[in-house]
């Protein structure tokens, strides 16, 4: 199973820009890569379900019939919330700055002051 990508992927010929903000170009490509990896994971899970069924350990329908117990429900919810917290962290950062009244000006002042003393 391969998870490392090591190839030389440089393409001769300037990569065009698509959106006014270069960051959106990067983001669009990253979303494609992430979707590709999601697709890879789903294929792998599907392989797993097939193999389990082939070995007559479980039927594939058992996966859909599975009813999580309370402990499982709690564990899943905890994991989902952790995932979503990570997802929103960039916005949390901005909210935290607003609470502390932090600013670019303060950042620049710190740089200037540190340079002096």
């Amino acid at each position: 199973m391969s998870d490392n990508t090591t190839s030389n992927r440089t393409i001769k010929g300037k990569r065009p820009s698509f959106f006014d903000a270069r960051g959106v170009d990067y983001l669009m490509h990253m979303v494609m890569v992430l979707t590709q990896e999601l697709s890879v994971t789903r294929d792998r899970l599907d392989t797993l379900e097939h193999l389990i069924e082939d070995k007559e350990l479980l039927k594939r329908t058992d996966f859909d019939r599975f009813a999580p117990d309370q402990a499982c429900l709690e564990e899943r919810e905890k994991n989902r919330q952790a995932l979503i917290k990570n997802l929103f962290s960039v916005m949390d950062q901005e909210a935290a700055e607003l609470v502390k009244n932090d600013s670019k000006e303060r950042f620049d002042e710190v740089i200037a002051e540190t340079a002096k003393g």
């Binding site: 990508t5 190839s7 992927r9 393409i11 065009p16 494609m32 890569v33 590709q36 890879v40």
Partner: protein
């Protein structure tokens, strides 16, 4: 292809095909699915955005609709859906090559080992140590394939060919057939239908890369001696071993189609497949002249490529012109504006013996077996953005060298 059809095409195996583990294959399958969705799902939405939003705005400002791809681009380039389409399409092309590079680099030694166990098929490989590769091939990586047709500097001799073979299958989403040979197969079918008396003894395929289109000539004209040239030593090396693996006798040789060292009148049939748009304004007339020189009297020159722009509306032209700017295809658009009939005449063919035609896609004929697939008059075709081969066929320029006057 019907919208509800699930594309589960799989590439035909041979000893040289790069193998991967399940995750490698899953990444490649994703690219194939993504490309299908871009054509069948996203492109219709883009087309709607053009006709419903960009076109009326352009007409309101300019008093007339765009007449060509340049004007269509002005009309459409700021449209957010168009930008998203271009960006996702580009990523799909990059992921296509990247998804093959990893298993290729991991398994390149296994490929080399495989070449040692293949039995000779009666073909040959001839490389030129000091060969000068034309600038139009080496200047940028055509199709965004890392390293281009020549492969990265210092890469294994099989690298570029192996990357191209698997990558092209994903690009075509399997519509070129299990062996990526639909163009060659379609042209041979066409020739057998339109020129049943042609019994070629010697055939030359120009710009053969890994021999995808070459092999059908060896298969379907078994009495002919088939030669194939290309400028890439890596592609030719791979092509030679691949042909042997598939038990097809082909003589591969490193040569530039602008000027070869075959003798005058060596061939009954000289063909090329999607070669011309990878050359240049200066190279094309030389290639046509070389074809004329290499043909025996009465022999045929056939170039299969995509259609000239004059048959298409401005929007379709724009979608195709994107290849120039977003898929590293420097000559793609310029080539379509060249008068190839005139070029053939300048090369020595009689104008009356030169014409454009359509070779219906062999795979479509196969899928529609039983249906008449003879609708191959150029003026009857409709070009629909998103079709793998616009019009369901390959555009062929056919020219016959004048027979000797008795």
């Amino acid at each position: 292809m019907q919208p509800e059809m699930l594309n589960t095409f799989q590439q035909g195996d041979h000893d040289l095909l790069v193998k991967g583990d399940s995750n490698h294959i899953a990444r490649q399958e994703f690219v194939k699915s993504l490309k299908g969705a871009i054509q069948q799902q996203m492109l219709p939405a883009i087309t709607t955005a053009y006709y419903q939003r960009a076109l009326p705005n352009y007409v309101a400002e300019n008093g007339a609709p765009p007449e060509n791809y340049t004007q269509a681009r002005v009309a459409f380039e700021q449209d957010p859906l168009f930008k998203a389409y271009l960006s996702i399409n580009r990523s799909s092309q990059e992921l296509q090559w990247f998804s093959v590079l990893d298993p290729l680099e991991e398994n390149i030694d296994a490929l080399e080992q495989a070449t040692k166990n293949i039995k000779p098929s009666g073909g040959s490989l001839s490389l030129e140590p000091n060969f000068e590769v034309p600038k139009y091939i080496s200047s940028i990586d055509i199709h965004c394939m890392p390293g281009g047709y020549l492969g990265p500097v210092g890469a294994h001799p099989l690298h570029a060919g192996a990357l191209y073979d698997r990558g092209v299958y994903l690009y075509a989403m399997g519509f070129m057939g299990p062996l990526n040979d639909d163009m060659g197969r379609s042209v041979v079918n066409y020739l057998k239908r339109k020129h049943p008396d042609l019994k070629p003894k010697k055939i030359l395929d120009l710009g053969c890369t890994v021999g995808h289109s070459t092999l059908p000539y060896a298969e379907l004209y078994p009495d002919a001696e088939v030669h194939a040239i290309d400028v890439s030593d890596s592609c030719l090396t791979y092509a030679h071993h691949r042909a042997e693996s598939l038990d097809m006798p082909v003589h591969f040789k490193q040569a530039n189609a602008e000027s070869t060292d075959y003798e005058d009148g060596s061939f009954d049939l000289v063909v090329s497949h999607i070669l011309l748009h990878e050359t240049s304004q200066k190279a094309m007339p030389k290639i046509f002249k070389e074809c004329h020189r290499l043909l025996k009297p009465g022999g045929l020159m056939v170039h299969a490529d995509l259609p000239p722009f004059e048959n298409m509306d401005a929007y379709m032209q724009l979608i195709l012109d994107n290849e120039t700017w977003y898929n590293n295809e420097p000559f793609w658009t310029a080539m379509r504006n060249i008068d190839q009939i005139q070029l053939s005449e300048d090369a020595g063919f009689n104008k009356a013996d030169v014409h454009f035609d359509t070779a219906p896609m062999a795979i479509m004929e196969f899928m529609n077996a039983g249906d008449a697939a003879q609708n191959d008059e150029p003026e009857d075709r409709e070009f629909i953005a998103g079709e793998y081969a616009p019009g369901g066929g390959w555009e062929v320029l056919v020219a016959q060298k004048q027979s000797k006057v008795a």
